[in-house]
């Protein structure tokens, strides 16, 4: 079905754990942004990503990743209901809205607020991936894990690959009966 719509509308967005100072004026533009961003605040199984921000500004509009935060005109019919005039936010950095301790007790507690609209805001890791992978799938960008990341030793261990790969005979699981 419409995988496209999904990526338009997922509120998950934004790339970069950068410090960013709002500029004067109604909205900011790509020139205000740093050229590259190191995305590595969560790296565990995989190393961080060296993100070429300047290159991407040529491909996508600010809104596609930063939603309404940059003050650019909001077009999404759902977001527009509230964010038509909210203007530029104090921060456009992903990590300031998308929780890096997603699903922790503290994070889940926020959902208790009965008036909260954004009950489904992805955590930081998902915000990155949903946004990047979603667009890459459509635009034919790289989508494999190691296309963007280098796997770490901890990652190799978890995936039991590389130097932690199982011996060819290991494992004995059989869903059906084994054929003796």
């Amino acid at each position: 079905m419409c995988t496209r719509k999904m990526y338009h509308l997922t509120m998950a967005m934004a790339v970069g754990s950068m410090l960013f100072w709002p500029q004067a004026g109604w909205s900011m533009d790509a020139a205000d942004a740093p050229e590259t961003v190191e995305i590595n605040s969560l790296s565990k199984s995989y190393g961080g990503v060296h993100f070429d921000h300047a290159m991407h500004t040529g491909i996508a509009s600010c809104e596609q990743c930063h939603h309404h935060t940059t003050g650019a005109e909001v077009t999404n019919s759902n977001c527009i209901r509230c964010h038509a005039k909210t203007g530029e936010e104090d921060s456009v950095s992903c990590k300031d809205c998308h929780s890096s301790d997603r699903f922790s007790k503290k994070d889940l507690l926020k959902l208790e607020d009965p008036k909260l609209y954004h009950i489904d805001k992805p955590g930081l890791k998902a915000a990155y991936h949903l946004n990047c992978v979603g667009c890459h799938q459509k635009a034919g960008g790289p989508t494999g894990c190691q296309d963007c990341h280098t796997i770490t030793e901890a990652g190799e261990k978890m995936f039991q690959t590389g130097k932690f790969a199982p011996a060819p005979t290991a494992g004995s699981g059989h869903g059906g009966h084994s054929s003796h």
Partner: protein, 309 residues
């Protein structure tokens, strides 16, 4: 003489038996009304988000200290593995598996993770005669290997084919199944390992009630993207792990013919007759006996009377 004695004994015996079994029945009808905990946690699996990276499988293997897999978790050839014409399923070394579904008309394949769905009224739990399963207030359905006798009725009963048995072990067999990472995480309020590992947040962890709202919100905000159904909201009485999909659920290997009511309801007919048999049978057959042997009894009574004179 003989028959009179037997009558008295028989009534005594019959009563004792009935009381004993009725007592058992009492406790059983209490347990039979068990329902899920309203505040329990769950996970919403969004198939449109899953990219089939198998991070969840890898994380589960690590968290649950399962044996090493046959192939590394970044080997995607497993999606083509077939056994008896079936895609991969949970087994004694995999609490969770991700399968690929090539749906006609769809540009990208869909991937579906499966694990224990932690039913609200679990069939595995209600069918177990040694109470090896527990539904915790946090929502997990956990298993106690120390009392399990290995009869495997839970495997017969689970509508999702989840519990598996360690057939390979002669001295230490047990049921192997996803426990929602209960001991290591859930009971401390932490999300399960697979959820934490998922890069796409295809797995959303939260209160089951909230997840249903979230699922609905996704449907509202992205009209046409999802099937208008949260799989698991009502299936077999509701499950703590639920699914969202962009295609009909039977296209991604989920059984769409499952009843809306808990599996236990199918057994209630029989459980209902138990007290009836226990109370009516003794009286009924005692009656038959008295009728059938009335002549003998009268005769004996007369004989007795004569003897006593």
């Amino acid at each position: 003489m003989k028959t009179t004695v037997s009558r008295r004994n028989f009534i005594k015996g019959g009563l004792a038996g009935t009381v004993a079994v009725t007592a058992l029945k009492e406790s059983s009808s209490q347990a039979a009304t068990f329902e899920g905990y309203p505040d329990g946690m769950g996970v919403l699996v969004d198939l449109t988000r899953c990219v089939g990276c198998r991070s969840c499988e890898a994380a589960c293997n690590q968290e649950q200290k399962l044996p090493p897999p046959e192939k590394p978790f970044d080997d995607f050839s497993v999606f083509d593995e077939m056994m008896h014409g079936q895609k991969r399923r949970t087994d004694e070394t995999h609490y969770t598996v991700v399968n690929r579904y090539d749906v006609p008309g769809l540009e990208h394949p869909l991937f579906r993770k499966i694990q224990c769905n932690h039913c609200q009224e679990p069939a595995c739990l209600t069918s177990c005669f040694v109470n090896a399963y527990t539904k915790t207030p946090e929502g997990a359905v956990i298993y106690n290997p120390n009392v399990c006798v290995g009869c495997r009725t839970c495997m017969i009963a689970c509508p999702f084919y989840i519990p598996t048995f360690k057939y390979s072990s002669a001295f230490n067999p047990r049921i192997m199944k996803c426990i929602f990472c209960y001991d290591t995480r859930l009971k401390d309020g932490k999300p399960p390992a697979c959820v934490e590992a998922c890069p796409q947040e295809a797995l959303t962890f939260g209160k089951r009630n909230d997840l249903i709202k979230i699922g609905r919100q996704r449907m509202v905000e992205t009209p046409g993207k999802y099937e208008d159904h949260i799989y698991g909201e009502h299936e077999v009485g509701g499950t703590a792990w639920m699914y969202l999909s962009s295609v009909p659920f039977d296209k991604v290997g989920l059984d769409t013919h499952l009843p809306k009511e808990p599996i236990l309801n199918f057994v209630k007919d029989f459980l209902g007759i138990v007290p009836m048999v226990l109370t009516i049978w003794p009286a009924l057959f005692a009656g038959f006996h008295l009728l059938a042997t009335r002549k003998d009894w009268l005769k004996n009574k007369n004989d007795d009377a004569h003897e006593e004179e």
